[in-house]
């Protein structure tokens, strides 16, 4: 009995110790919060709420849009950004034929080895090759971009919260900082080599506006290439590169859920029937 009592006594003392330590930290924190000034967050904006063909549980790819987005990546983004997890063969999923993919790959130069000399060389791509990086290595990428390495875009829309909307908003969002913003946050003025964008968390990024003029890309399907159109198309394309299986995933989900719904209803009915004998009658 005395032994048990002592266990609880020790527990009470230990508990009080932790509680006092936590409350002491609270008091110190409250004092600091009241006396010290906290640097306010820079007011960046949440991405625009745009609508996409692949939104929601029934969403599907818009193949024409993905093909347009590929063209924007090809002619604009690929100058600096790699797409290393995407192979040319994957492009058949965008509605291209095998022959078109072969021709597309062959037009790209990828690193290879000269079969006669064994020296490093460039060769035309094959469908099994992956999108080549614009730079031979990270040091070259940093050197060419003021030390800011352009990130790989394969997973970009999954690597940012609300990624598809974020990419599209960022591409459309370049603008001069407003006078009110600079008045309130003088530190928000873009430094040398930086560009203001309200959708970027610290408001200034090293990427120069990539999409600047309407008609920068000439679409094959005759769609008018506005800045908004190009930004959205490439964001949709990058959503596909980030998760090419997204639509298949949603389409697989429905039969699974419908099957489970029926199975669960049957399980409920058998449970009710089995328990009927021992449940008290109301």
């Amino acid at each position: 009995m005395t032994k048990l009592l002592s266990v609880r006594l020790v527990a009470i003392l230990v508990g009080l110790g932790f509680a006092v330590a936590a409350l002491w930290a609270f008091v110190v924190g409250a004092y600091n919060a009241a006396t010290e000034e906290v640097a306010p967050h820079l007011p960046y904006e949440d991405p625009m709420d745009l609508s996409w063909s692949f939104d929601g549980p029934f969403g599907k790819w818009d193949h024409a849009q993905l093909q347009r987005g590929l063209k924007v990546y090809d002619e604009v983004c690929s100058a600096c950004h790699s797409l290393k997890f995407v192979a040319f063969r994957d492009l058949e999923q965008l509605g291209y034929s095998e022959g078109q993919v072969k021709a597309y790959a062959a037009a790209k130069q990828v690193p290879g080895i000269d079969p006669n000399t064994g020296e490093a060389t460039m060769r035309p791509g094959l469908p099994t090759d992956y999108f080549p990086s614009p730079y031979p290595n990270a040091v070259a990428a940093a050197a060419a971009n003021n030390n800011a390495i352009p990130p790989d875009l394969s997973l970009m829309t999954k690597a940012r919260g609300n990624g598809t909307n974020y990419v599209a908003s960022l591409l459309m969002g370049y603008q001069e900082p407003s006078a009110e913003l600079l008045e309130e946050h003088p530190e928000a003025a873009p430094g040398p080599g930086l560009y203001h964008n309200p959708y970027f968390p610290n408001l200034n990024l090293a990427m120069a506006p990539p999409i600047t003029t309407a008609g920068q890309v000439t679409y094959d399907d005759g769609t008018e290439a506005t800045i908004e159109q190009m930004s959205k198309d490439v964001a949709a394309f990058l959503t596909w590169t980030a998760e090419p299986t997204m639509v298949k995933r949603k389409q697989t989900g429905w039969p699974v859920l419908i099957f489970l719904l029926f199975a669960t209803i049957l399980a409920y009915m058998s449970k009710k029937q089995i328990w009927a004998a021992v449940k008290p009658k109301k």
């Binding site: 527990a11 009470i12 609270f26 999954k158 409920y268």
Partner: protein, 431 residues
Amino acid sequence: MSFPWARQYEPKNAVTKFLDEKLPLPRLVYNAVGAGYPVPRNLSYFWNFGVLAGFFLVVQIVTGVVLAMHYAANAQVAFATTEHIMRDVNWGWLMRYAHANGASFFFIVVYLHIFRGLFYSSYKAPREMIWLLGVVIFLLMMATAFMGYVLPWGQMSFWGAKVITGLFGAIPLVGEPIQVWLLGGFAPDNAALNRFFSLHFLLPFVIAGVVILHIWALHIPGSSNPTGVEVKSESDTVPFHPYYTAKDGFGLGIALLAYFALVFFLPNALGHPDNYIEANPLSTPAHIVPEWYFWPFYAILRAFTVDFLFVPAKLMGVIAMFASILLWFFLPWLDKSPVRSGHYRPLFRKFFWFGLIPAMIVLFICGGAPAEEPYVMLSQIATAYYFLHFLVILPIISNVEKPEPLPYSITEAVLGSDKKVVKGENTTPAV
């Protein structure tokens, strides 16, 4: 080990008779989860989560073994092989999403299982050993989940590994050598990734072993029940099969609906976007946060922001975080109230619903939030309450509380009176 009225296994044909003589596995199953295990007749749906936890352990082992066939634990290629699974392996995306969300569901059902144990004091005699083994399982789960999250070698994998192994660095004198020894280097790299993979593969089977002990220990006193009154007679129980197999089947259906809704339609909702960025030791993420199921304990870790007496703040946080779980080992000896169920304990119930549950919610929110005010201050108050609740309030209220009257038996609680039972009127379940 079971009630005298438990049904006896009778092998019916030549094969089962042969088996029963040589290796009585069917008998074991019959007595464990078959008609040979009498269970209180009044269990609520809160008693479903043990079976569900076992189910999700199996899901994790099956999907995990398949993933391990395609994954390479090497810092150079780990991120790329994870993407290879997502893109090129047939149904690889399904395996990976099922595994990542399976971990979340394993924790959801285990937290509900622990909640049940805390409200109904399932840890009290004669079930102390079941509870102790359960805490061991939970600790093993935490270690396994932490190491699993490192394997994709994304930004949160890397920085999570760095922060968590850094906790050991807070130990005075030997801290840093221990941290280097754990990681196999000065920072997380190939050595750490390899050993985490090895242990992540091993520990689930250790968990499965402790689960067997947990169930074994359960079958000695039998299941607890919502009244907390022990089984008195045959009319208090029903055979596990078909009554609870049917009820668990329905519960499993509901759990699977929720699980697959997440897997197929919101597979990344519980993850962090930063883990789709490849690990980069030179770029620290803005906010390093663990997976959601660690948030309450992460909040306790970060609540200790100032040195206390001679203990540095960081060490204090580490001790408190480990203590917050280890103290569960002592619950059977801290809460001495003879009444088990929270339904009959007015004072306990108030502290539970208006103290512990809000504190846990606050800790959960603060653990996922950046280390800023007001989150830090809120987590400090909630942390103080957490320790007071288990170590001070629980031992004291078991002395001062006046419990409400208990029903005479489970049968009385279900039927209103136990007399009919004695006469044997429509109470012996027909199987």
